[in-house]
C-alpha cells in the first residue's frame, strides 16, 4: 500500500506539469497553487514513507513491466530505503519552500505559469531519480533533471547569456551523462541486469571485479562529475546563474547537483567493491580538488550568485570527499544540511537581488537595516556554510573531516584549508552586501533615472516565510548528526548498524578555529580594512589571477572542445558537399579527361552519382555520337567492320 503511494510522489508534480502546461493561466494562482499543492502533497507522502522506513520496513519496493525484451518483461520499479527516504524528504521539503518563494519572486513574469510547470517537472524528475531501483529509471530521471535545468536556466531566453548558459549546462552535463550511460551499458553487458540490488549482489559475488568494475565505477562517476559540477566538468554551473534565482536554489540545493552525489551514495556498494577502493579514492580527490579550487575562485567573485555557485561546487566537492573517504553517512549528511543552508542562501540572495535589481555586490552595502529578515536568515545560512558551531554545516563538515583524517590525511588538510577559504568568502559576501556603507543611491521617485536609482525593500512574506523556514533547518538539522545525541542520522542511514564514524573533539576544535580564522581574515579586509584587498590580491600573484580566470578552464574548453567540434562539423560539411559527393564526380571528370572526350558539359553539375552517370554517360554518348555522322557511307563501313570484328571475335574464342 505504502509502496504504491510512493509512485504518487513523483506523479503529483508530473501531473501538475502537464496540467499547468496545458491550462496555465486558467488554473488557480495561474498554476502556482497547483504546483505548490502537488509539491506539498508529495512532501506529505514522503513523510509517510519516511516514517514507514523509520519503522523498519526497508526497503520498500514496487515494480512495473516497463517493456519486454525477448518475450521477457523488464521489471523495473521503485524502492525506498533510508537514503531514498531522506532524499525524498529533502527534495520535497526544500522544494516546497522554493516553490512558495517563487510565487513572490516570479510575480509578474510573462511566463509565470510556465515557470511553475518547469519547476514541477524538475521536482518530478528528481523524485523519480531518487526512487529508482534500477539504472534505467535513474538515468531517465537524471536526464530529465538535466532537461529541466536547461529549460529553467534558459527561462529568460531573450537574454543571450541565459540562452548560452542553458545550452552550456545541458551539453556539459550530457558529456558526463554519456560516461554514465556507458557505465550502465558496461554493467548491463556484463551482469545482464539493470536493477541495483541484482547488480550489487552480482558484484559482491564477484561476477564483475577488478578492472571491469573499476571502469564501470569510474564511468558512472563521470556522470556524477558532470551533474554535480565537479572539476573538470564544473564550468556550466557558474553560468547557470543566468536562470531565475529560485531555479538556482533548486538546482544547487535539492535537485540537479545533488543527483550526482546521490548517485554515488546510491551506488556506494559498487564503488566500495573496487579493488583497494580505487574508485572511491578518485572520487575523494576529485571532490577535494573541486572543493579547494572552487572556493578560491569564489573569493574573487563580485557577483553574489556566482559566489554561491562556486560555493556549491566547493561544497559538493566536500560531499564527494566525504563519500570517497568511506564516510557514506557523512557525505549524505552534508548533502542534506547543504540542501537547507544553500537553498536558504540562494533564496536570501534572490531576495537581495529582487530588491536591488543587480547581482553586483559592489553596488550593495548596508542592506542589513533595510531588509532585516533577509539579513538574519542569510547570516544563519552563511554561518552554517562556514561551519560554525552549532549550525548544521558544522556537524556535517566536521564528520567529513573526521573521516578524511582517518583515511587520508592529505585530503584532510586540503579540506581544512578549504574550510578557511570558505569562511573567508562567505563573510566577504556578507560584509559587502549587508554591512558597511551604502554603495547605491536611494531612489528619487521616478524609476529609471539611472541604474543607481534603486529602492531596496524587504521582500514580501511569501518570500521571507520560506527563508525563515529554511533558516530553522540550517540552524537545527545539524543536531541529527550530533554525537552527543548518538548520531541518529548516521544510524538511520546505516539501517541501525553501528557506525565507525565517531566524533573527534580535536578535529572539531581545529576546524572551528580555522573557520573562525577565515571569518577574522574577511573582517580584517572588508570590515576593519586593515589591509587593502587589492594589495592582498597582488601579494598572492599568480594565484589570484588564476582564481580570477577560473583556472582557465573555460578558455581551454572554448579553444579546444567547442571550436574543435564546430570546425570539424564545418569541415565535414564541406567534405560532404565536395568530397563524398564529388568523389564520384571526380572519377567522372577523370574518365572524361582520360578518354579525351571533348564535349563540354554543363559546369554546374557538381554533384553525385547522378552526375557520374550524367558526366560519364553524356560524355561517352557525345563521343559515340560522333560515329553517328548521318552519312550513309560511314554506316556501310561500320557494317563491314562489324562483320570483320564478329569473324575475328568468333575465331579468337
Amino acid at each position: 500500500m505504502v509502496t504504491s503511494l510512493a509512485w504518487l510522489i513523483p506523479l503529483f508534480p508530473f501531473l501538475a506539469f502537464w496540467l499547468i502546461l496545458f491550462f496555465g493561466r486558467r488554473l488557480p494562482g495561474q498554476g502556482a497553487t497547483v504546483a505548490i499543492g502537488a509539491m506539498l502533497a508529495s512532501a506529505v507522502l514522503a513523510l509517510v514513507v519516511f516514517f514507514r522506513v523509520l519503522g523498519g520496513a526497508v526497503p520498500l519496493r514496487s515494480t512495473l513491466d516497463w517493456l519486454v525484451l525477448g518475450a521477457q518483461p523488464l521489471a523495473l520499479g521503485i524502492q525506498v530505503d533510508a537514503l531514498g527516504a531522506v532524499m525524498l524528504l529533502v527534495v520535497t521539503v526544500v522544494g516546497s519552500a522554493i516553490f512558495i518563494y517563487s510565487v513572490g519572486y516570479m510575480h509578474g513574469d510573462p511566463r509565470y505559469p510556465r515557470f511553475f510547470a518547469y519547476l514541477s517537472l524538475f521536482a518530478a524528475s528528481m523524485l523519480l531519480l531518487v526512487l529508482a531501483d534500477n539504472f534505467l529509471f535513474l538515468y531517465v530521471g537524471w536526464e530529465l533533471v538535466g532537461l529541466c535545468s536547461y529549460l529553467l536556466i534558459g527561462f529568460w531566453f531573450e537574454r543571450p547569456a541565459a540562452a548560452r548558459a542553458s545550452m552550456k549546462a545541458f551539453i556539459t552535463t550530457r558529456i558526463g551523462d554519456v560516461f554514465f550511460f556507458a557505465g550502465i551499458l558496461l554493467l548491463f553487458f556484463t551482469l545482464g541486469t539493470l536493477r541495483f540490488d541484482q547488480t550489487f549482489a552480482a558484484v559482491q559475488s564477484g561476477r564483475l571485479g577488478g578492472g571491469g568494475l573499476l571502469a564501470a565505477a569510474l564511468l558512472l562517476f563521470g556522470g556524477a562529475v558532470g551533474k554535480s559540477a565537479q572539476v573538470p566538468l564544473h564550468v556550466w554551473l557558474p553560468d547557470a546563474m543566468e536562470g531565475p534565482t529560485p531555479v538556482s536554489a533548486l538546482i544547487h540545493a535539492a535537485t540537479m547537483v545533488a543527483a550526482g552525489v546521490y548517485m554515488v551514495a546510491r551506488l556506494f556498494l559498487l564503488f566500495a567493491q573496487t579493488p583497494e577502493h580505487t574508485a572511491l579514492t578518485v572520487v575523494a580527490w576529485v571532490g577535494g580538488i573541486s572543493a579547494f579550487m572552487a572556493a578560491t575562485i569564489a573569493v574573487v567573485q563580485d557577483d553574489i550568485k556566482r559566489v554561491m555557485a562556486y560555493s556549491t561546487i566547493s561544497q559538493l566537492g566536500y560531499m564527494f570527499l566525504g563519500l570517497g573517504v568511506l564516510g557514506y553517512a557523512a557525505g549524505v549528511f552534508h548533502l542534506m544540511t547543504h540542501a537547507f543552508f544553500k537553498a536558504l542562501l540562494f533564496l536570501a540572495a534572490g531576495s537581495v537581488i529582487h530588491a536591488m535589481g543587480t547581482n553586483d555586490m559592489k553596488q550593495m552595502g548596508g542592506l542589513a537595516r533595510v531588509m532585516p529578515s533577509t539579513y538574519w536568515t542569510m547570516l544563519i545560512g552563511g554561518l552554517a556554510l562556514a561551519g560554525i558551531f552549532p549550525f548544521a554545516g558544522f556537524w556535517s563538515k566536521d564528520e567529513i573531516l573526521t573521516e578524511a583524517w582517518r583515511h587520508s590525511p592529505p585530503l584532510f588538510y586540503l579540506g581544512l584549508v578549504t574550510s578557511f577559504v570558505t569562511a573567508f568568502y562567505v563573510m566577504r559576501m556578507m560584509f559587502y552586501t549587508f554591512l558597511g556603507e551604502r554603495r547605491w543611491a536611494p531612489a528619487h521617485g521616478v524609476w529609471g533615472q539611472g541604474h543607481e536609482a534603486v529602492h531596496p525593500h524587504e521582500s514580501p512574506r511569501v518570500m521571507t516565510g520560506p527563508l525563515w523556514f529554511l533558516a530553522c533547518g540550517a540552524a537545527l538539522l545539524g543536531f541529527l548528526g550530533a554525537p552527543f545525541l548518538g548520531n541518529p542520522f548516521g544510524r538511520f542511514l546505516h539501517a541501525g548498524e553501528e557506525t565507525a564514524a565517531t566524533f573527534d573533539l580535536r578535529i572539531a576544535l581545529v576546524s572551528t578555529a580555522v573557520a573562525l580564522a577565515g571569518i577574522g581574515a574577511a573582517a580584517a579586509l572588508y570590515r576593519w580594512r586593515w589591509l587593502s584587498p587589492a594589495a592582498v590580491r597582488r601579494a598572492f600573484q599568480p594565484f589570484s589571477t588564476w582564481a580570477e580566470r577560473k583556472y582557465y578552464f573555460d578558455d581551454v574548453y572554448q579553444w579546444t572542445v567547442v571550436r574543435g567540434t564546430v570546425w570539424t562539423s564545418r569541415v565535414l560539411r564541406v567534405f560532404d558537399v565536395y568530397v563524398v559527393d564529388g568523389l564520384v564526380n571526380l572519377i567522372g571528370v577523370a574518365l572524361v579527361a582520360l578518354t579525351r572526350l571533348y564535349r563540354v558539359f554543363d559546369l554546374y553539375v557538381v554533384d553525385g552519382v547522378v552526375n557520374l552517370i550524367g558526366w560519364v554517360a553524356k560524355a561517352l554518348g557525345g563521343a559515340l555520337r560522333v560515329v553517328q555522322t548521318g552519312r550513309a557511307e560511314n554506316y556501310l563501313l561500320v557494317i563491314a567492320i562489324g562483320v570483320i570484328l564478329l569473324i575475328l571475335g568468333g575465331l579468337v574464342r
Binding site: L21, D65, W66, L67, V68, L69, G70, A71, P73, R111, L136, Y139, V140, G141, W142, E143, L144, L147, Y150, G154, F157, E158, R159, P160, A162, A163, R164, S166, M167, F170, I171, R174, I175, V178, F181, A182, L185, L186, F188, F189, G192, T565, V566, T568, S569, R570, L572, R573, D576, V580, D581, D607, G608, V609, V610, I613
Partner: protein
C-alpha cells in the same frame, strides 16, 4: 481486410480524379486515408501478440512463375503500417492549403500511401518489389512539381539513386528464386528454405544486391548524398513521408530480408556495416551541426538516426549462431525497430515544424535568420522543443527508448563501436540545442514580430505526433510488445 486497408487509399485516389471541386478532392483524400487508418486500427485489435505472421491473405497471381499475391502482418510490419497510416493522414491534413495542381497532388499522396503500405505487408518478393518501386514514382513527382528551387535535380537524383539499388536487389531476388526448390518468390518459404545457404558465393552476390538497395534507401553512409537534396527540395508533406517512412523501407528490408535470408553473409560483413553505421551516426550529427538550412539540418540528423538503426541491425547480424549473444541481439533489434517508428514520428514532425515556419510564415529556413521566436510563437516553440528533445534522445520521449535499447544490445556485441557511437548522442544534443538557441532564444527579432502562432490545422497535424512521442516515451511497452515477439523470432531463427 488487410487488402482493403492496402488499397483503400489508391481507390480514394482514383475516385478523386473524377471531381473538380477542391473541397471534395481534399475530403475524399482525407477520408480515404482515414478509412484506411481505421481499418489498420481494427486490424491492430485483431492482432495476436504471439501469433507471428498473421492476417495473411493469399491468392495465386502469376502461378506460372510462382508469384502469388500474399500479404500479412507481424510484429515488424504492424508498427510500420501504423506509422505509415499516421504520417500519411497527417500529411494530407497538413497539405490542406495546397492549391497548385491539387488533384494530382492528392492522388500522388494516396498512391504513395498504398505503395508504402504494400512494401510493409507484401510477403511475395514480386509484390514487394512492385510496391517498392512504385513508391519512387509519386515521390519523384511530389519533389519535382511541388518542390523547392532545385526540385528537378533533387527529384531525378532521388529516383536514380534508389533505382540503382532496386535493380541490384532484383538480381538478388532472382538468385534466390532460381535456387529455391520449388522455385518460389514467397518470402516466408524462402526464409524457411534458405536457398542460398549452400552456395555462399551466390549468397554473397545476392546479399550485396539487397544491401545496395536497402543501404541507399536508409541511407547509410556514404550513400546518403541523395538525401539532403531530396529532403530539402521536397514539399513539406513529401519530406515528412520521405523521412518518416521511405527511409524505413531500407531498414525494414534489412530486418525482414537480409537478416533471415543471408545470416552467414550478413554476419561476415556485420562489422563493416556496423562501422558504416557508426560513421553515419557521427558524421550525420557533425554535418548536421554545420547546416544553415533548417531542413538540411533535420535531413542530416536523419543520417545520424538511421545510423543507430543500422548499428542495431548489424549487432543482431553479428550474433548469428551465437546463442550467448541472442539476448543482446534481440535487444538491439527491438531498439532498431523501435527507432524506426520513433524516427518516423519525430523526424516527420520536425519536417512539419519546418514547414509550418517556412511554407506559410517566414518563407526562409535559415537557422541564423531567426532568433527570439520563443517569445513570439510560444506554442510553436513548445512543440518544436519537444520534438527536438525527442530527437536528441531525451528520456521520457520516444527517441530515448529506441537509442537506449540499441546501445544496450549493440554494447553486448560491439562494445567499442557502441561506446564510440555514444559520441553521437552528445553531438546531436549540442546540435539541436544550438538550433533551438539560434531560432527561439535570445531577444525577439523584430523582423518576425507579426508572425502568427500555430493554427488549428497545423495543430491537428502535429499533436498526434507529439502525443505519440510522449506516450511511447513514457510507456513503450504496448508498442515494444508487438515488436518484441517478431524480433525474438528473427533472432531465434538465426541460431
Amino acid at each position: 481486410m488487410l487488402s482493403l486497408m492496402l488499397f483503400l487509399p489508391l481507390a480514394g485516389g482514383i475516385l478523386l480524379l473524377f471531381f473538380r471541386n477542391p473541397r471534395a478532392i481534399r475530403g475524399i483524400a482525407l477520408g480515404a486515408s482515414l478509412l484506411s487508418l481505421y481499418v489498420a486500427i481494427v486490424l491492430l485489435g485483431r492482432f495476436n501478440l504471439r501469433g507471428g505472421m498473421q492476417l495473411v491473405e493469399s491468392a495465386p497471381w502469376i502461378p506460372s512463375v510462382g508469384i502469388s499475391y500474399t500479404v500479412g502482418l507481424d510484429g515488424l510490419s504492424l508498427p510500420l503500417v501504423l506509422l505509415t497510416q499516421l504520417l500519411s493522414a497527417v500529411s494530407i491534413v497538413y497539405s490542406w492549403r495546397v492549391e497548385l495542381r491539387l488533384k494530382e497532388y492528392m492522388f500522388l499522396l494516396l498512391l504513395l500511401q498504398t505503395a508504402m503500405l504494400g512494401v510493409f505487408v507484401a510477403l511475395d518478393f514480386f509484390l514487394f518489389y512492385i510496391f517498392w518501386e512504385v513508391t519512387l514514382v509519386p515521390m519523384y513527382f511530389l519533389i519535382g512539381i511541388w518542390g523547392g528551387p532545385r526540385k528537378e535535380y533533387a527529384a531525378i537524383k532521388f529516383f536514380l539513386f534508389t533505382l540503382v539499388g532496386s535493380l541490384a536487389m532484383l538480381v538478388g531476388i532472382l538468385l534466390l528464386y532460381f535456387n529455391a526448390q520449388p522455385r518460389t518468390l514467397d518470402v516466408l518459404s524462402l526464409i524457411q528454405q534458405q536457398p542460398l545457404a549452400k552456395d555462399l558465393r551466390l549468397a554473397t552476390i545476392a546479399f550485396w544486391g539487397f544491401f545496395l538497395s536497402f543501404a541507399i534507401k536508409v541511407p547509410m553512409w556514404p550513400f546518403h548524398t541523395w538525401l539532403p537534396d531530396a529532403h530539402v527540395e521536397a514539399p513539406t508533406a513529401g519530406s515528412v513521408i520521405l523521412a518518416g517512412i521511405l527511409l524505413k523501407l531500407g531498414t525494414y528490408g534489412f530486418v525482414r530480408f537480409s537478416l533471415p535470408l543471408f545470416p552467414q553473409v550478413f554476419q561476415q560483413y556485420a562489422y563493416v556495416i556496423a562501422i558504416l553505421a557508426l560513421l553515419g551516426i557521427i558524421y550525420g550529427a557533425l554535418v548536421s551541426m554545420a547546416q544553415m538550412d533548417l531542413k538540411k539540418l533535420v535531413a542530416y540528423s536523419s543520417v545520424n538516426h538511421m545510423g543507430y538503426v543500422m548499428l542495431g541491425v548489424a549487432a543482431a547480424a553479428a550474433a548469428y549462431g551465437q546463442p550467448a549473444k541472442a539476448q543482446a541481439a534481440t535487444t538491439a533489434l527491438n531498439g532498431a525497430v523501435f527507432e524506426m517508428v520513433a524516427h518516423g514520428v519525430i523526424t516527420g514532425s520536425l519536417f512539419l515544424i519546418v514547414g509550418v515556419i517556412y511554407d506559410y510564415r517566414a518563407h526562409t529556413r535559415g537557422v541564423n535568420e531567426f532568433g527570439g521566436l520563443g517569445a513570439i510563437l510560444p506554442v510553436y516553440t513548445g512543440i518544436t522543443t519537444i520534438a527536438m528533445l525527442a530527437s536528441l534522445g531525451l528520456p521520457g520521449l520516444m527517441g530515448f527508448v529506441a537509442e537506449f535499447l540499441i546501445f544496450l544490445g549493440a554494447f553486448g556485441v560491439f562494445p567499442a563501436l557502441a561506446a564510440t557511437g555514444l559520441l553521437g548522442i552528445i553531438i546531436t544534443a549540442a546540435m539541436f540545442l544550438w538550433t533551438i538557441q539560434r531560432i527561439f532564444l535570445g531577444p525577439p527579432n523584430p523582423r518576425w514580430k507579426g508572425l502568427l502562432d500555430v493554427d488549428t490545422r497545423e495543430l491537428v497535424a502535429l499533436v498526434p505526433l507529439v502525443a505519440a512521442m510522449v506516450i511511447f516515451g513514457l510507456y513503450p511497452r504496448p508498442l515494444l510488445e508487438i515488436i518484441d515477439t517478431a524480433m525474438a523470432a528473427v533472432v531465434a531463427a538465426l541460431r
